[in-house]
């Protein structure tokens, strides 16, 4: 999205309910700033993230999508993030294979105690996407609000 001639990326962050969503809450509790471009969607576990959701976000105009979950080994459901890790590894490789910039997708493990890491991750991701510019390769022009 362009605001006053400046590119403002739309970022969707999927956060697992148990670790990363709590980590995001913690960064709020600690008043750690990160750009408002990031909008969080709560999912029960990182393994709930269907590749279709990521593609949907890009279709509707997202410029970057990030998945945050419990650290490997800490999953509330014991194994969910391990499955998510395999799925995202392969999906991101495929997107890159199709010529989609790899920087637009990311997985980061954030525990409920890592409020600072959450904020730092989001700051970094927003900066990366801002540098990269608008998502042109995976957009659906019909969905663009101008």
């Amino acid at each position: 999205m362009q605001v006053n001639g400046q590119f403002q990326p739309t970022i969707v962050a999927f956060c697992c309910n148990w670790c990363s969503y709590a980590g995001a809450d913690l960064s709020g509790t600690n008043r750690l700033q990160y750009p408002a471009n990031v909008k969080i969607i709560r999912i029960p576990c990182s393994c709930r993230l269907n590749p279709m959701f990521i593609l949907r976000a890009f279709q509707r105009g997202a410029d970057g999508v990030i998945l945050c979950g419990c650290h490997p080994g800490d999953c509330h459901y014991t194994s969910g993030n391990y499955f998510a890790r395999r799925r995202m590894t392969l999906l991101f490789n495929m997107l890159e294979f199709l010529g989609i910039e790899r920087e637009r997708t990311r997985v980061e493990w954030v525990s409920a105690a890592e409020g600072a890491k959450f904020a730092a991750t989001m700051n970094d991701f927003v900066a990366t996407i801002t540098r990269l510019g608008e998502n042109k390769r995976l957009e659906d022009l019909r969905c663009k609000s101008k």
């Binding site: 969707v12 709560r42 029960p44 269907n50 459901y77 969910g80």
Partner: protein, 663 residues
């Protein structure tokens, strides 16, 4: 058509300072489906909640969006508020505009804009919410305890005490576990048998407790409140009903050369045996590996001497099936094998023993009748060297364990003290890395060994033990004294690391309970839920969860029992309604979902469907057990057809949120 109410909370100034709450409620009032939108200072307050309830009635709301603090804070509060006003609690969605908006932004315009978007996403989601009803499942009011050591016995006694039936499955012929082999207990030095055997008798006599000794869990099906367990009762070749435990057969059996497992092979027993005098149940067992009759068909002495006619050479293993509401794992520990620690000469000299073997060598019912004698020549040892941390605190590789075995410091102090007390002519050396004695009266106990009993505690490790000319030459370091010691010892005692029993891993697979890399069972939360497994209905007691001494084990056993009782007193369990659900019309029956389910919540049935032209088709379809499913959603992504979806976090709902955010 849904009628949505939007309630924007100021949270005092927490939200209102960086978000224009009036603008947010204004903007959201124009969203499709929204019929009412307002803001208030404290939505979670009594007045705020009443305001929500009044609006629900007045505007006949079907769904509610609260823009407030994190759902982790007040989602439950608002769900209950709405439930009291007559709408389904799962028709509530929270937009997190405090932790994830007002608190992280400074610019009010930015905060307001983001709050509106988050509100829109919540509205988009709630429009697709469906009322959910938490299901219930009945609870079988009976518990199973796997393992009949002190942990299992204590758990069973406590559960029985509360009035519930409880079964103990023990793989050995008697309950009692490791504690039966221990001579004295620290820090009080009272005799282990004296405090354990009455408990074993209590368990046997308690009418609520049923003991399946010489039995193993074969299969576990079901879920919390409703487990079905298959138990293999191994053939003893002795009729349990008839055997009186008189022990005549164990004296007459001509096969005398069987290593006595109870005494860790330090002496021998007969092929038919009762492990020890106070065994519970006190029933003879034939060791099929050694019985001449079972191997060659010739002998039959025990059968001839048994006046009760209890011997049955044709007995077979039997499988029984029982139903339980809760399962307690109490599979305990074993000392590790020491064959990888060649430097201590454990396999080269019988005078190098493990601490557990020393317990037997000092026990009045042990192979030496309680007199400490060297196993090699049955002489009195004068110099004893204890080596701590053998196989504990090791890093990497195949050799040893990375953790501290926790109990060794105390039992070694105990051994050293007992030996010095009984045989003042001995010199006792303890080589330690660190002496770790936290615990009530523990450090005092260790200091007594040093100060009153003159045990030589030396900071340093033993490097090598060389058996030569009937002696054990011990080369060791004295780090504080700054010298290398060479001690001529008569006996060396190794404090071997302890590890979970080998039966634990296959059991964990059956129970779908998780384990760490050392095969200790994982607790649901290391601090707040230490006696529960992450798998609902599975509880942990004793050393199967981590190294523990007896007092800790008993405490944890009681804690596990209280958790079990808390479960069994319920007639029904309320389930989390946000569980997976398979659409049978789309299900391929491919088993992908089952393979990623950590809870074993998915099963398959063959079901008949109407086909074209009045035909019927038999199709394999998945079914989710809502009582077992925890709602992680792994299956929903594994499912290629999209038949599997998650209630409360459905594909449609999440995509609606995505759309609202990216709009």
């Amino acid at each position: 058509m849904q009628r949505i109410g939007v309630f924007v909370c100021w949270c005092g100034s927490n939200i209102a300072a960086t978000v224009d709450v009036e603008a947010v409620s204004q903007a959201l009032s124009h969203e499709a489906g929204v019929v009412f939108s307002t803001n208030y200072q404290y939505m979670c307050s009594q007045a705020g909640q009443e305001m929500i309830q009044a609006a629900i009635h007045e505007h006949r709301l079907t769904g509610v969006v609260i823009c407030s603090c994190s759902p982790r804070m007040h989602e439950n509060t608002f769900r209950k508020t709405c439930e009291r006003a007559g709408i389904n609690p799962y028709m509530v969605e929270i937009a997190n505009i405090r932790e994830q908006c007002s608190w992280i932004h400074k610019d009010k315009a930015v905060g307001t804009e983001k709050a509106i978007i988050l509100g829109r996403a919540a509205i988009a989601k709630v429009l697709l919410n469906a009322p959910l009803t938490a299901g219930t499942s009945p609870v079988t009011k009976r518990a199973l305890v796997i393992g009949g050591g002190i942990a299992g016995i204590q758990t069973a006694l406590d559960i029985a005490d509360a009035g519930f039936e409880v079964d103990i499955v023990e793989k050995e012929p008697t309950i009692g576990g490791k504690m039966t082999q221990i001579d004295k207990t620290f820090p009080t030095l009272d005799c282990a048998a004296c405090i354990l055997t009455p408990k074993m008798v209590d368990a046997a006599q308690n009418e609520k407790i049923k003991i399946y000794a010489y039995s193993q869990v074969e299969a576990v099906k079901g879920f919390v409140g409703n487990f079905t367990v298959t138990i293999r009762r191994k053939a003893r070749y002795v009729d349990e009903e008839k055997c009186t435990g008189c022990g005549l057969c164990t004296e007459k059996c001509p096969q005398k050369k069987v290593p006595n497992a109870f005494n860790l092979g330090l002496d021998t027993r007969r092929a038919i045996y009762i492990p020890f005098a106070q065994a519970v149940p006190k029933i003879a067992t034939i060791d099929a590996d050694y019985c001449t009759m079972l191997k060659t068909g010739k002998c039959g002495v025990c059968s001839k001497v048994c006046t009760a006619g209890a011997i049955d050479y044709h007995q077979q293993d039997t499988l029984i099936e029982e139903h339980y509401g809760a399962i307690v794992v109490a599979t305990g520990y074993n000392p590790i094998q020491l064959d990888q620690f060649d430097e201590f000469a454990y396999s080269h000299s019988p005078d190098v023993v493990t601490s557990l073997e020393l317990e037997r060598l000092m026990n009045a019912a042990g192979p030496t009748g309680g007199t400490l004698l060297r196993p090699s020549d049955k002489t009195h040892p004068h110099t004893l060297v204890f080596v701590q941390c053998v196989g504990s605190r090791c890093d990497g590789g195949e050799k040893g364990k990375p953790y501290c075995s926790k109990i060794c410091c105390m039992y070694t102090a105990k051994h050293a003290m007992l030996i010095r007390e009984k045989y003042p002519d001995t010199e006792v050396y303890v080589f330690y890395i660190d002496v770790r004695t936290p615990g009530k009266n523990f450090d005092e106990f260790y200091r007594r060994a040093v100060e009153e009993y003159g045990v030589h505690y030396i900071k340093g490790m033993v490097g090598k033990v060389t058996p030569q000319n009937g002696k054990l030459y011990v080369q060791a370091a004295d780090l504080l004294g700054g010298q290398q010691l060479k001690i001529e010892a008569d006996m060396v005692v190794l404090a071997a690391a302890i590890e979970p029993d080998k039966s634990a891993r296959p059991l964990a697979t059956m129970l779908t309970a998780s384990m760490d890399t050392n095969d200790f069972f994982t607790e649901a939360h290391p601090k707040l839920r230490p006696v529960e497994s992450p798998t609902a209905g599975i509880f942990l007691s004793g050393a199967c969860q981590g190294p523990k001494d007896i007092p800790e084990t008993v405490a944890q056993a009681g804690a596990a029992a209280s958790k079990v009782i808390g479960l069994l007193v319920k007639d029904h369990l309320v389930c989390n309604p946000c569980v997976a659900e398979s659409n049978e019309l789309m299900c391929n029956g491919c088993s992908a979902c089952e393979k990623v389910c950590p809870y074993g919540a998915i099963t398959y049935i063959d079901k008949e469907f109407r086909g074209p032209n009045r035909t019927t088709l038999l199709r394999r379809i998945a079914q989710v057990n809502p009582a077992v499913c925890q709602g992680c959603g792994a299956c929903t992504v594994a499912c290629p057809s999209g038949a599997m979806d998650l209630k409360g976090f459905s594909n449609g709902q999440i995509m609606a949120e995505v759309d609202a955010i990216c709009r």
